[in-house]
Symmetry: D2
């Protein structure tokens, strides 16, 4: 068991806390007794939602662990996410073998393909039963995990014996109680390349401004880490930290000061930042996520207008690396990490765990209920985040850019 909290004011605090509120996660790993007889197992793998570096590493490690360690005789990959679990979509599962997956980690994307959105739970469970799947590994984010939970509930209702294990995938690193998600290291590393280009563009023109939009629907982890690694960034706008555009002390004025003093500036804006500037049209994408307005283009326009109004000639270069940071192969760090996640997912399934996800906490691999993982999103809390403090130090930006009233 892994203790949830590890920072205390001292042993008295630790003892009191544990007594009052003993929160532990289950440590992941192989178990003495396994619940399924490997010889009877058909395993299924499905990858859903947006691409993320490392999906193929996870698939590969699942197959290797199932095949070599547990000697599972049949492993099926369902193509194109939950679509592949629905008969009428016409996709057919692919049999996965060590040979077929041996080199897939060299490629970005998912060899199984992916799709967004939910499918009829009944149809999906029908398919699992049809193929005799005993354990289903669902690689995906929030929506996927909700789907997995629903599949689990239908499985339970039918009194079937199918383990449903999630491997949380979110390039934004915003899964609760999971220290980091796979692909995140690769993603922000790639983002740094775009940020450094923005820096060269900004320095390369009089009053140059480099504006980069990065992923981060609800949390600014990619934006902040990219800024910390690049060290060339002056402003990072994230969903967790409110900001105003106009008025004394608001963003545009602070930006103007910077430009006047230093002649150039680099700005990162996370895609979920500044949504207050858009009317919520209630639109959702196929995954059921709120459709965000494009803050990148919006900022580009607003900055241009502002400086035109201020009669200050600027050279604004806008970069939206978009898919470039998510479709690349995993870096070495993520590749190792994916391997551990997948192995622990297999251990969990064989130990009889279901309706669970694998994660990492206090640097220990864990197994925890899907419900916990999707209860709320992990966000950066500016008021008490060392990450945010480091960001402020690195950029020199004010803690809050709110117009004085």
């Amino acid at each position: 068991m892994v203790l949830f909290q590890t920072i205390f004011s001292g042993s008295q605090d630790a003892l009191a806390t544990i007594q009052k509120n003993p929160i532990f996660f289950e440590q992941a790993g192989p178990r003495q007794n396994i619940y399924f007889n490997p010889a009877d197992v058909t395993a299924g793998i499905v990858t859903c939602g947006g691409l993320c570096p490392g999906i193929n590493d996870v698939i590969r490690a699942l197959v290797m662990e199932l095949h070599y360690r547990y000697k599972v005789p049949r492993i099926l990959g369902f193509p194109f996410g939950y679509e592949g679990l629905v008969k009428k979509s016409g996709h057919r599962p692919i049999e996965l073998t060590p040979d077929k997956v041996a080199h897939i980690m060299n490629f970005g994307g998912s060899i199984l393909g992916s799709s967004r959105g939910n499918q009829a739970i009944n149809d999906m469970v029908d398919t699992l039963c049809l193929y005799g799947v005993k354990m289903l590994f669902c690689i995906g984010g929030d929506g996927t995990l909700r789907g997995a939970q629903a599949i689990h509930e239908e499985v339970k209702r039918r009194k079937e014996d199918i383990a449903i294990v999630g491997i949380p995938k979110t390039i934004d690193n915003d899964i609760n109680y999971v220290q980091k998600t796979f692909g995140f290291s690769t993603a922000f590393s790639k983002a740094v390349e775009a940020v450094n280009c923005a820096h060269e563009e900004a320095k390369g023109a009089p009053n140059g401004i480099g504006l980069v939009k990065l992923m981060g629907r609800h949390s600014g982890f990619i934006a902040v880490n990219a800024a910390l690694a690049s060290k060339n960034v002056n402003f990072v706008l994230i969903p967790e930290s409110d900001f105003d555009l106009e008025g004394k002390g608001a963003f545009l004025e602070v930006l103007k000061d910077r430009i006047k003093k230093r002649g150039h500036s680099v700005i990162i804006v996370a895609e979920g930042a500044g949504q207050k500037y858009f009317e919520d049209k209630g639109e959702k994408d196929q995954s059921g996520n709120k459709r965000l307005a494009d803050i990148g283009i919006f900022m580009k326009d607003r900055i241009s207008e502002y400086f035109k109004k201020e009669n200050l000639n600027i050279n604004l270069k806008y970069i939206d690396p978009s898919y470039i940071i998510r479709s690349v192969p995993a870096n070495a760090e993520d590749s190792v990490f994916c391997g551990f996640l997948a192995q622990n997912a297999v251990h969990a399934a064989f130990a009889g765990r279901t309706s669970c996800v694998v994660g990492i906490w206090n640097n220990v691999f864990t197994v925890m209920p899907i419900q916990l993982a999707i209860a709320e999103r992990k966000v950066l809390k500016p008021e008490r985040s060392t990450l945010w403090r480091a960001l402020l130090a690195s950029t020199g930006q004010p803690n809050r850019m709110i117009a004085e009233s």
Copy 2:
């Protein structure tokens, strides 16, 4: 002297051709007699127009050659392009020394900064005279070279003795009579990364389409080379090859066939392609280039509409790597190439050449009149280009995608 033409049907043809039309370029290199006394020389360097990989390599090599080989006592970098040559802009030249430029090749962009657009020729020549500049190296494209020519003419009118030497910079590789321009190798290599991401995105979703916009205002060299290197591309649309969108045999129909047969597709569109679809508003940017409409966004919208109309669900991912491919440091190939260009530019200036550019032809470094370099643009000629033939073979796309009438 470098012979212009090297492909003949045989010696008779060669002899007849040379007799009738003896076109040679001057071979670049150090000359026995030098025109300027190095001890009297102040050299100037200016970088104009958009960024391109290798500018800093060129600056570094100019400085090293001027300083170490010719012992030039003073080298001035004029900041922010031709703006830096105009007093009222308020920029002041930077003295460049080997120490200051020793490591600049590790960075993209230009340490001098750049700007677009012309400045008053008189003011610029005033500045050259004020600082006693004897040779000015102009790193830039079309517009810059026209400016350099104008400076040269004013210098001549004033009977000043200032050598004006251009180092052609165009990421599009579209300078006439120049086999390749610096930065091009790096640029298309970086573009390949974006294209490969588009490929993973296309394969990663049912009926996935990856659409990448690449640079190439008038010529498709980056687009075509990126496709040839990536090997994952199905369609390349370039300015030199007309195409229709709708109708039998036109692009959208061919694309639909591909999607139906293979389930995914990767498309590259060069920024100058398909301009016939836009009304020419006669807008120009600061460099005097026609402002192009955004063919990337246009294609994205048209493809989406078309498949909606055709009732075929597609997953379109649009990638515009934009500045990411031009603000990076030069790769090793370009870095070596930049060194040679710069050294030859210095040799040319010291040999008393002026109003000229350095280039490469038949793999030999050349010096040629600015006038020749800017007379017209180098474009890919689909009907007799081996590059285009290779592209058709690699993509499998029809030679022409024109609607049957």
Copy 3:
């Protein structure tokens, strides 16, 4: 305070453990009250021992934090390790400013240079006093930290008020009670490139064997992580896991089986592995480390001899990437990490801590006594390491390759 242990069998166990043996590390970070008046502080930085990715990131972050956050007026870099603290060596400290360090993270190595070996403690403290250094940041490994401790003791003896703070640097990741050291991620990532080359070489010839020597004097972390990331490795030999070469069940026989079955093999050997095969000549290098015999060359020769004896033609390719994996710039992951370490080192010094190092434990940055960090080395414990278990699964190698007696 950060709890040392976080894995328990349950709350009873946790409570009992904490009551009996309450081990906590101090959490790093800024303190309400600071011990030194920044205006009076001259800070010193010294980098010792072998190069490691990220040293320049640490130097940069130290300078930025000292300058911008604490407004320290003078920061001195002592060149070439402890040599730079000894007058007679003739080196003079360099004043470090934000401008000077702004871009150094783009380069491998250390802008201060480094050296191995200790210097007279008295001379070093004399230098610190001469320059009025109030806080000295020592970036280095084991030997450096011992030196730092000795400096601290002399400082104390003299009743001087100088904070001595270590930032542990060991590419081998073998500092005790430190979850990971900076540069390690970059190092094993670079190592993967060499390993993948060995794999291509092995597959590229009949009975091809690719043998790679990697760093790891006492611990196999680089070797094991490189193997896990590469996924193309069949054998990893590390210092912590004994192996025999000849005899039934010993390495060479197992290798022969693999070659016979699969026709190729990739082997990683950590530099500290198999030292039992060498007579200990008691030689030490300048840092006081035991001089290791070259296990890479030894293995190359022994494998060749063995297969010659066995009449099996092999094609052995030996790769020793050596400095290539340690002199590169830090990757994005390490770069961010270095920033945090350096900031926390500065906080620690200002909080009045001395004779301490900064580290990370349970994913929380910590401050702990130098004595604890150097008490013993962190090694991989094969019998209960999940890393080793994953390695065995990934390579398929036997847990122990000891000759049957």
Copy 4:
């Protein structure tokens, strides 16, 4: 036809030269009439000698061109070089299809494997006849091309109709009348990474010397280009430029001066340099190449001894990147180039050419007799090479480092 010479003193010179000595190469490309009926063709591919970046690109492009353009029904890959053409070796050919080769360009090495050394010509021709091979593509260096020529002669003697076409592979770029060979760009680019590490190591220690051994048995192209790209190199020792070690004006003394003045130095030594220091034992490797003594280790020892004798403490770091620069995937530049070479090889075979190689001259793809390509090696001629002149300028090393007598 491509004119051999393109540099003349003027048209008179050109006319006279062409009249007297009309040397042309045949331009490569598709021909109107083809010699073989594609439907009858079985094509063979074999890769021999050391690995080189781009082999898989060549294989892929051969297969694609044969399959898609010429509709060749059967393409066989013979494994492990000429061994694969000899029955008794036990290897069997692999049928190559577009699907099998679609992604191989992402991997270094050769999917067919390779081997060194010749095989019985008769046996090889027997195999070709057995499988009905009509065209054999031999990817390899000197030795391979000699083998190809011998195969051709035996084929001719037997009055068989088999086209033998070589694609010259030499990482050293030393094939005569071939402007550049595939893989060279990638190789020297990778070498630059090792050189830059040597630079950081050299600067990172008092009197630091970074010594890098690079490929180049007979020619210093990799060494010189790596130095030009890195720009951090002070000495490049190549086979084509004699040097002495000891004596006034010889290498070690010049090195000492540099160390004394600048405190560090970076040296590249090509593997074929300085062979005069070794007794020729007449040993040859399997390819029939003279076995070279290890100049890298030799230089390392001699430099160390010298400075010990001179009582100057140095820190010498030796890097031998060896296979790391040849087993990597081709870069984008090489990848495009490989495609053209392969396509032209297929065109040549179908046009009925045999006993020929494809190359590039004056930037035009050519077909020329094997005999010409192997007649002698391309080397760098220091006395009139612009490359060497640029190298001297870049390093600042004396043109000749021969001891004064």
